[in-house]
């Protein structure tokens, strides 16, 4: 199975094209032994069928976004110039600074930088960030789609609403429901912080809203009215599970509108992992489903950086996950449930949204596909039932939630999809971001003012600053900076422009073999505020 190619990854990055084709061919044959014809994509977490290309077709032109605009006259040479590299790296970058006084409370979050670099066309990763308006706190998440981007797109649009609703006190829920009932203006629940490329689908918003409304109506009904003490951890778990359930239900019920009907099926048959952080004052919750990761950057007293992992990967490298899967299924399936480090020999993450092929019974799958639109029916992939499929569900969207109480030495949190973690060690990631962020603080402009400074002194000072900043200088965004390192680092851990430009100028069809989609959010904490909380409460 494709798993071995994951090991080849660093190797592929260093070898010539002929070698890649060799490797790709190798995968190709390996795929053949487990199912019908698969396209030779090397270390896909999920081995898609060619028909999937049509299954999830993006409206946007991926190339246009990533490439930036090309004004050069000459045809694209193999090497991109530094400005071209920058325009690719910066195409999707986004920064948000929390206003210093947002009227209610001083936020423990200074702001965040986010960015993504596509390898798939279109990109299958998604990201979301929003401030909760009816409760305190900020939500940030990265979503890694597979078998298309439909599911990750849907989750990125919907999950935060489910979380926010789960966190709402009973009265607020009633208020909202009454507003909907009487056609009044709704209380805004979330304030989104979106890059222009992060879109919401207009067509499905009504459908999504109805599902969400059903959810809060149930919450209202369930509430006995005795305690409004909402547990964040529980809310997160409920929201994840509920959304996945809704995705599954919507696909089973279908929609009279043929476009929407096809959409909900695409969402359900594709998959997505999610890693979401909820920050409220010093309370940090990370809910994770799948193999994206949350990493806390901690600055030690001596100024050095260390990484604290705030999520567990749900994949074959996680012993307890293997254990869980074995316990959930009969003993005779112990060998088949995880094969070649993949769920049923197919799926790399062991938890995910969507992916009903791993959740529904065979009957249900067949029924839905047969009654579904022709596109679905003609699709070889959707018809294909995973091997050794005896006791579904094999997959869950239930997150693992880790709580962390922020300390002043916790400077930032990195949420990133596995595209980052498979290229860089967590320790390096934290160090690079840490040095970048502190460097940024030191990068105040110099002014001569009234001081006596000679040309020589100034020159010495500037050369020193330049050496320090050489790579930091180009980026105003920590996530961009991290991507630059992730893609362009050479064996010495410094950014090699040549390598960077090679990696970024790979043609669409090759890019996926050298790297995965990378999505990163770097949240910066306000140590002063965190410190003040601590003093207050102790």
């Amino acid at each position: 199975m494709p798993a071995p190619t994951q090991l080849f990854f660093p190797l592929i990055r260093n070898c010539e094209l002929s070698r890649i084709y060799g490797t790709a061919c190798y995968c190709h044959h390996r795929h053949l032994c487990c199912s019908s014809s698969y396209i030779p994509q090397s270390h896909l977490r999920y081995t898609p069928h060619p028909a999937y290309a049509t299954f999830c077709r993006s409206k946007e032109n991926w190339w246009q976004y990533t490439q930036g605009r090309r004004y050069a006259s000459t045809p694209q040479k193999f090497y991109l110039t530094p400005p071209q590299v920058n325009s690719i790296l910066k195409a999707n970058e986004y920064s948000f600074k929390v206003p210093e006084f947002d009227g209610k409370n001083v936020s423990s979050v200074l702001g965040f930088d986010s960015n993504q670099l596509p390898a798939n066309a279109p990109i299958e990763d998604r990201r979301s960030a929003a401030t909760c308006l009816q409760t305190r706190g900020m939500l940030l998440g990265v979503f890694d789609g597979h078998a298309g981007c439909a599911c990750s797109q849907a989750v990125s649009e919907r999950l935060f609403y489910y979380i926010a609703v789960s966190l709402l006190p009973h009265e607020t829920l009633l208020e909202i429901e009454n507003a909907v009932e009487s056609g009044r203006a709704l209380l805004p629940i979330l304030q989104w912080h979106k890059h222009p490329n992060d879109y919401f689908s207009k067509e499905a918003s009504k459908l999504y809203f109805n599902s969400l409304r059903t959810y809060w109506q149930e919450l209202i009904d369930l509430n006995t009215g005795e305690s409004d003490d909402i547990d964040v951890k529980e809310a997160l778990i409920n929201a994840f599970k509920r959304l996945d359930n809704d995705i599954s239900l919507e696909a089973q019920v279908g929609d009279p509108n043929s476009f929407l009907n096809y959409l909900v099926l695409r969402v359900a048959f594709s998959g997505a992992t999610a890693c979401v952080a909820h920050v409220d004052g010093v309370n940090l919750h990370v809910a994770n489903t799948g193999d994206s990761r949350a990493m806390l950057g901690v600055q030690e007293e001596d100024g050095s950086w260390s990484a604290v992992t705030l999520s567990n990967d749900h994949n074959a490298q996680n012993e307890s996950e293997l254990e869980r899967l074995k316990l959930e299924h009969p003993k005779n399936e112990a060998k088949s449930v995880v094969k070649q480090d993949r769920l049923l020999g197919l799926l790399m993450p062991f938890r995910a949204f969507g992916d009903v092929k791993f959740k529904w019974s065979i009957d249900l799958q067949k029924r839905v596909i047969e009654s579904g639109p022709d596109q679905l029916n003609d699709n070889e992939y959707t018809k294909f039932i995973p091997p050794n499929y005896y006791t579904p569900p094999y997959l869950t969207a239930e997150p693992e939630v880790i709580y962390h109480r922020l300390r002043p030495q916790d400077k930032f949190l990195i949420l990133a999809t596995d595209g980052l973690w498979e290229t860089m060690h967590r320790q390096d990631v934290v160090r690079i971001v840490g040095e970048y962020l502190t460097g940024m603080h030191h990068q105040q402009p110099i002014a001569v003012g009234g001081y006596k400074v000679t040309l020589g002194q100034m020159h010495g000072l500037l050369t020193e600053r330049r050496a320090k900043m050489s790579s930091v200088f180009e980026d105003q965004n920590a996530a961009t900076h991290l991507i630059r390192h992730a893609v362009g680092n050479n064996e010495f851990g410094t950014v090699d422009h040549e390598r960077l430009s090679k990696m970024l100028s790979l043609p669409e069809e090759l890019a996926r073999m050298y790297r995965d989609d990378i999505t990163i959010i770097v949240v910066q904490f306000n140590s002063h505020v965190v410190g003040a909380y601590q003093n207050q409460e102790y």
Binding site: Y71, A72, H459, M469
Partner: protein
């Protein structure tokens, strides 16, 4: 703390005038003291901008006798870029017209103090231009030989001599230098104030703290100006708003595009040296180090043009950005390093401050002057590319002449606003392009360099096809044109070395294209040409064209006429081919960059007549040139129509079908003198026709060719090109095209009187073709254009274009020969005899090469039989 300190600096800059301690900045102001009274209700001219440009225009207009002038300045006089200018006047420029402007400015500023009594701080320091490389030295030598012939002293000197002239310079890494002893420094703000003061004495009214809101326009003419203090009626408006000129141009109801964009520019000021520098210490330009250095109050002033400019004000005037104009030391670091490498002793010198003053740049590195093509009476002078002080005097003079006399005394086409159209006006384009232009100021300018940014704007529908076949592109007026086609087997890496003053790497490629044009057939995409259609309901079209064009257009339907569009002086405003499509409609083909200029000229002279229609159809047609002896075979095979000379004589135009496509305008002419056809194809058929031509042509050995092949072919046949060889000051008689003038028809046309007079008196210059004799193509420097021509050892003119002729195996230059009197320098009549009896030399970067002058093309080039008039009549527009 840092923040407040920065803030205080900014505020100081903004509030205290003369903070730079320019001598007597204040004393000058009194003469031109701002009027606080109400604005006049009307004036003949309103000038917007009280910098060096505005005051220079006011000064020159008032000198020429125009008195009713109002100058408006939004802030104070001589603030803005003029105040912060480094104050260097330098005549070492690449363009002849720029050299002349700078030379005039230098002379004007020198006597300004005497004329006005205002101290301008003018000191003749001289300039030294350093060359770190041999290529840079060649570039300097080219400038040097051109400066000398227009009477500006300059010489190439050794590094040792440099060290003698400037004690602080490190000269170890120098290949040589150029010394221009008459360059000077001056306080630019005081120059502007002196000009304003002189203008004010001549009656010009000056109002500061008055902003122009927009210009009022009625029926395509300026009628007045709306300011924040009221309206002024006026006939003429002059936009000298510097970096705000673009915004101001767009603010009218009918927007005028003035393509320019500002970038931040930094220079350093230091305290005096221990032994203060002499005030006449020469200016240094170290272009390879990207810096300039001048003495400044005993210390130095040094700035430069960095590789990574910071464009500013892309979205217009922005208070936030103005406030943020701070010293950016990190940005200045490469320039500071370069300075300390050049003058190591400055290490211990104390910094006074780093000045950040935005400068304005244009898309082609040349300034912008002239009248708007859309609005009569709307003049512009802006976009100085950091040379405002050097050009100020001369540019102001030319613009004033333009307004007063209708045209300037020199050919300023290279600076004319009409070389641009709305297409260069996109903010994104400008931002990207100026980021390339600013570093380019100090980059080596080798022959045939192309801009890299702002490309692929206008393309032919065949662009992708040609690109896939190895086309290398150049750009003209936003249009991509193929230079040559790299064969598939060619090593592409070897082709990156084309930046040279010597034989370029595409030599062999172009040779094979030329050979194919001569022996088989080539196809060249010439879609960029400007194409107009003039139609009328009656004879109006013919009548107006007969008046506007010098050649007889009353020809049978289907005929093509090469003709000039002349001005009153008989000079070429345009040189084009006109096909008579039918009795009442004409198809006019002009050079690519004529799109705006030619349109404006035609519009200006065509009365508003609903029966007469002028249409720009440039975008409607793709033009393919089939060139070579087998072109006729390809075409006849594709059209099943007889294409023998009897059915399809030379210089004839027919609509016919080519392949499946009908309605293709086929013209039996090429722009090179080779046999062949031009196909004007409605764009939706372009790909089809191209594919058909290529597939049918295969058996005749067809291949793609580019403009370099075209250029070689046309120059070896002595075809002059408008915009390069011909301009508004050259007449048909001066380039041997008398046969294209309808003297005997008894029809009046613009320029007729001037030409008649010239025919009687003789011409004062004559276009000739020079074949270089002792020039080694492999080893010697190649000619480009602008090389001085010597006749019997005396300067006689400059070349206008050049190319290697693969047929003659020699370089060929075109250029004008003058007859300067040995005693007085006065221009005398040039006769054919005068040309023929001279011994000629062409000066390429200081080295002279013997050349044979010819007044007619080399007959042996025409391998095929052609009638004589064909030869003379065939013209070209390709470059």
């Amino acid at each position: 703390v840092m923040f407040y300190r920065l803030l205080s600096v900014v505020q100081r800059q903004r509030t205290s005038r003369g903070w730079q301690n320019w001598p007597s900045a204040r004393s000058g102001a009194s003469a031109a003291e701002a009027h606080s009274v109400a604005l006049p209700a009307q004036a003949q001219v309103v000038i917007c901008g009280g910098g060096i440009m505005g005051t220079s225009v006011a000064y020159h207009l008032s000198k020429m006798g125009w008195k009713d002038i109002v100058l408006l300045e939004q802030g104070r006089l001589a603030a803005g870029s003029t105040r912060f200018c480094a104050g260097i006047i330098s005549t070492a420029r690449h363009l002849g017209i720029e050299q002349k402007m700078a030379d005039y400015s230098n002379k004007l500023y020198q006597q300004l103090e005497q004329e006005t009594g205002i101290q301008t701080g003018y000191i003749r320091t001289g300039s030294i231009f350093l060359a770190q490389t041999q290529d840079r030295l060649i570039s300097l030598k080219r400038i040097n030989s051109r400066l000398n012939v227009i009477g500006i002293p300059s010489e190439i000197i050794s590094p040792k001599k440099v060290a003698e002239l400037h004690p602080l310079l490190n000269v170890h890494d120098l290949a040589g230098a150029m010394h221009v002893p008459e360059d000077a420094v001056v306080s630019s703000a005081d120059v502007a104030l002196a000009l304003a003061s002189a203008a004010s004495q001549n009656g010009v009214q000056i109002y500061d703290r008055t902003s122009v809101v927009h210009v009022m326009i009625k029926k395509g003419e300026v009628t007045g100006v709306e300011t924040d203090k009221g309206q002024i009626e006026c006939q003429y408006f002059v936009n000298c708003a510097g970096q705000w000129a673009y915004e101001l141009g767009l603010s009218n109801e009918e927007p005028i595009s003035i393509p320019l964009h500002a970038c931040e520019h930094f220079y350093l000021l230091t305290r005096p040296l221990e032994t203060p520098l002499q005030s006449n210490t020469p200016n240094i330009v170290d272009a390879d180090g990207r810096i300039y250095i001048r003495n400044w109050q005993g210390g130095i002033l040094s700035g430069g043009f960095e590789k990574t400019p910071k464009p500013i004000f892309t979205e217009g005037k922005n208070q936030l950005e103005i406030h943020n104009l701070q010293e950016d030391w990190d940005h200045f670091e490469p320039l500071l390093s370069s300075l300390l490498r050049r003058m190591p002793d400055l290490e211990t010198l104390e910094i006074m401050k780093l000045v950040n003053c935005p400068e304005t740049f244009t898309p082609d590195m040349r300034c912008i002057m002239g009248e708007s093509p859309l609005v009569k009476g709307y003049f512009v002078l802006a976009g100085m590319n950091s040379a405002g002080l050097s050009f100020g005097g001369g540019a102001g003079k030319y613009l004033a002449e333009w307004m007063v006399y209708g045209y300037p005394s020199e050919n300023v086409w290279e600076l004319d606003l009409k070389r641009f159209g709305a297409l260069q006006s996109s903010r994104t384009f400008l931002r990207h392009r100026v980021m390339e232009v600013m570093p380019l100021l100090y980059e080596l300018k080798v022959p045939r360099w192309d801009f890299q940014t702002g490309r692929q704007l206008r393309t032919s529908p065949l662009y992708d096809r040609l690109d896939a076949q190895g086309a290398r592109w150049m750009e003209k007026h936003g249009f991509e044109r193929p230079k040559y086609f790299v064969p598939p087997d060619k090593d592409l890496l070897a082709l990156e070395q084309s930046k040279t003053f010597y034989k370029p790497d595409w030599f062999d490629i172009v040779e094979s294209e030329v050979k194919c044009c001569k022996e088989a057939v080539c196809v060249i995409d010439m879609s960029s040409f400007t194409k107009f259609e003039i139609t009328s309901t009656g004879d109006q079209a013919l009548e107006i064209l007969q008046y506007l064009f010098s050649n007889d257009l009353d020809v049978p339907v289907g005929h093509i006429v090469h003709t000039g569009m002349l001005n009153e002086g008989g000079g070429y405003e345009n040189d084009c081919s006109i096909a008579r499509l039918n009795k009442r409609s004409f198809f006019m083909i002009s050079p690519t960059d004529q799109q705006v200029h030619s349109w404006a000229w035609l519009k200006k002279h065509m009365q508003l007549d609903s029966n007469l229609l002028l249409e720009d159809v440039t975008w409607k047609y793709t033009a393919l040139n089939l060139i070579g002896p087998r072109a006729v075979d390809v075409l006849s095979e594709l059209s099943y129509a007889p294409i023998t000379p009897d059915h399809f004589p030379s210089l004839f135009c027919k609509e016919m079908s080519v392949g499946y496509a009908n309605g293709i305008r086929v013209m039996s002419m090429t722009h090179t003198g080779e046999p062949g056809f031009m196909l004007y194809i409605p764009i939706e058929y372009a790909l089809h026709v191209y594919n058909e031509v290529m597939s049918v042509g295969q058996k005749y050995g067809i291949r793609n060719a580019g403009y370099y092949a075209l250029r070689s072919l046309r120059i070896e046949k002595f075809f002059a090109f408008w915009g390069q060889d011909l301009n508004t000051l050259t007449t048909p008689l001066e380039c041997g095209r008398e046969s294209r003038v309808k003297f005997e028809k008894g029809v009046d046309f613009i320029g007729r009187d001037a030409l008649l007079q010239q025919r009687q008196n003789g011409v004062y210059k004559r276009l000739a073709m020079f074949v270089l004799d002792d020039h080694d193509t492999d080893l010697d420097l190649w000619p480009w254009w602008g090389e001085p021509i010597y006749r019997n050892g005396l300067y006689a003119g400059k070349t206008t274009s050049s190319a290697y002729s693969y047929t003659l195996e020699r370089h060929v230059c075109l250029g004008f020969v003058h007859n300067f009197s040995e005693d007085t320098g006065e221009e005398q009549v040039v006769t054919a005899d005068f040309i023929n009896r001279g011994e000629y030399e062409i000066d390429i970067a200081g080295q002279r090469f013997q050349a044979k002058a010819r007044l007619y093309p080399v007959a042996s080039l025409y391998t095929h039989k052609r009638r004589k008039e064909d030869v003379e009549l065939s013209d070209l527009h390709g470059k």
